[in-house]
């Protein structure tokens, strides 16, 4: 009796969520179907077999966009996590004014994805921008960062590192969970600071580092706004900020080649799934679970 009543109530509470799942599950499979079609939104999709994927194999712009996305992700994610961890460890050692430092470091991570900040970045790193002014104090003539294909992506990597505050807060919370007596015991046994970091901090923090790594990689592979705003939609200069999702957007919503855009979406999904799987497999060797 009671059991059935609870079933009914559970489903009633989940009603909006079931609706949301329809909003996600149906498009998920629809996108898989569209990946094998030729579709321009106006005429019904036409089955094209593997044609889209064959086209992708020879699409130079697509390869460029993969390169941009990989370089960006593989540099900026480890760099920002490393900075976040380093700063969190320094803050965790008990600093007067901890709350103020934490706020100052955290605020940029709330603003980093906004249009206004990416636009600001264009001017900070402009030819006569403040970054080059600063470099000129040391006699360095900086490049025209955002209009030079060799440096445009660097500015966005630096923007990503600037938002290290979010993982830093998570690391700080994790560091707080490590009992102080571990360090006291290690100190008594004569372990150096580095040794304490390697043998206490890293293993005990590894589940949190792992979690941050997985989330940051998934998010970073999908970067769009930074490339779009910095290049005003083009992915330039010379496709140097053509992020994968920016190219997908151009294909799908400027050229209305939605079949191709869907194939692209699935390729990225497979790449992300692959990276996540590798992460989970590698986790066995370095992530330490207490229980």
């Amino acid at each position: 009796m009671i059991r059935r009543r609870q079933d009914w109530a559970g489903y009633a509470f989940l009603l909006p969520w079931f609706g949301g799942m329809v909003f996600m599950v149906v498009p998920f499979f629809a996108s898989l179907y569209l990946a094998f079609t030729d579709y321009d939104l106006l005429t019904p999709p036409r089955w094209a077999g593997l044609a889209n994927f064959r086209e992708m194999a020879g699409d130079v712009k697509l390869h460029q966009s993969l390169k941009v996305t990989f370089v960006y992700t593989l540099v900026s994610v480890p760099a920002s996590l490393a900075v976040a961890l380093a700063v969190a460890i320094v803050l965790d050692r008990g600093v007067r004014g901890l709350a103020i430092y934490r706020s100052i470091y955290y605020l940029p991570s709330l603003l980093g994805g906004s249009v206004a900040i990416v636009m600001l970045w264009r001017y900070l790193f402009g030819y006569d921008g403040i970054v080059n002014d600063f470099l000129s104090w040391f006699g360095i003539a900086g490049p025209a960062w955002t209009t030079d294909p060799d440096h445009a992506l660097t500015t966005l990597i630096l923007l990503h590192v600037w938002t290290f505050g979010a993982p830093m807060v998570i690391f700080l919370a994790g560091l707080r969970q490590i009992p102080a007596m571990y360090y006291e015991a290690a100190g008594m046994d004569g372990a150096s600071t580095w040794r304490q970091f390697r043998s206490i901090t890293l293993p005990l923090l590894s589940p949190i580092i792992f979690f941050n790594l997985v989330q940051a990689l998934i998010a970073s592979f999908q970067t769009f706004t930074q490339g779009y705003v910095l290049s005003n939609g083009s992915g330039g200069p010379a496709d140097s900020t053509l992020f994968y999702n920016l190219y997908l957007y151009q294909k799908g919503f400027a050229e209305f080649d939605m079949g191709y855009a869907s194939s692209m979406a699935w390729l990225l999904l497979i790449i992300i799934a692959g990276f996540t799987a590798i992460n989970f497999l590698a986790a066995r060797y370095w992530v330490f679970y207490d229980n």
């Binding site: 609706g19 996108s31 700063v87 470091y105 994805g113 001017y123 403040i130 979010a166 005003n232 997908l248």
Partner: protein, 294 residues
């Protein structure tokens, strides 16, 4: 017992410790403040540039403007096709309804997962966790087609409806964690007193979840306020534009060198986020620490 042990096993001489401790401490503050300056400088430069005459933005290097031009705000306000309050109101409507939607739909789902027993609960919960890792870009094309068929292009429905359907697993997860920390006896007592699940949820659990709701509301505010991709995709009528879409338009008028106005409106677009951050820091830090939201 809090023994503070120095790293060297032999006892250090009595006098130096104070001096020895203050020097690294001082150095640490220098280092941390230095990082702080780097973190804050872009924002300060933006604010400073917003009150400089446009032609001195790149020549007057000092943070404190040699000449102030507050007129940037007035001119920037009316520089785009609509006066800026139109965009602010649009964004405010979307943000407010998104918050309401997330709070209602996610708390209902969270209560089911945290407290009710029903067939398939584990499976559904696993699915919910799965959607948290599902990259949203895979859904974009079919969702666009679907919203097009529904005649929803150039309306706010594509931006709002997902929030009323509990599509953000992070918020559900946050609330589930919070509800699990509440004593089960509360629910039991309410049931014995004759409350059904809905009354228990509405009268007993909801009021206790306010901290989790505050976290959800603030995160929703910041992410929806900054959201660029969906409005770009679904809104083409400038009268419907949100603040980020409006600010981006300043780049199209780049040739006219109206930098002061651009930075003025950029700052207007960030000010609500900064305000919410200052007001809701406690909830943000707590939320980010429990779920890893960013």
């Amino acid at each position: 017992m809090s023994l503070t042990l120095t790293r060297t096993p032999q006892a250090p001489s009595a006098a130096p410790p104070a001096a020895r401790r203050t020097r690294p401490r001082f150095l640490r503050h220098v280092l941390l403040s230095g990082v702080g300056v780097v973190m804050m400088y872009p924002l300060l430069w933006m604010i400073s540039s917003s009150v400089k005459p446009s032609d001195s933005v790149f020549t007057d290097e000092s943070l404190w403007p040699a000449v102030f031009d507050f007129g940037n705000y007035a001119r920037g306000w009316t520089a785009l096709s609509e006066p800026f309050e139109v965009y602010l109101v649009n964004s405010l409507i979307i943000v407010t309804l998104s918050i309401v939607g997330n709070l209602l739909s996610c708390s209902l789902a969270a209560y089911a997962f945290a407290r009710l027993r029903f067939t398939g609960r584990r499976l559904f919960f696993a699915m919910m966790l799965g959607t948290m890792m599902l990259p949203g870009h895979v859904l974009v094309v079919p969702q666009y087609v679907m919203f097009d068929r529904l005649g929803w292009l150039n309306t706010y429905y594509p931006l709002l409806v997902p929030h009323f359907l509990a599509t953000n697993g992070f918020y559900i997860f946050l609330m589930v964690q919070f509800m699990r920390s509440l004593p089960q006896e509360l629910d039991d007592a309410a049931r014995i007193d004759g409350c059904g699940p809905f009354r228990t949820f509405w009268k007993v659990v909801m009021p206790l979840c306010l901290p989790a709701f505050a976290t959800t509301a603030i995160f929703t505010f910041i992410s929806v306020w900054n959201e660029f991709f969906s409005p770009l995709l679904y809104l083409t009528d400038p009268q419907l534009y949100t603040v980020p879409l409006a600010v981006r338009q300043f780049m199209d008028s780049e040739g006219q060198s109206r930098w002061g106005e651009m930075f003025a409106m950029s700052f207007v677009s960030l000010a609500p986020v900064i305000g919410f951050f200052i007001a809701g820091q406690k909830y943000l830090v707590r939320g980010i620490a429990t779920t890893g939201l960013r």
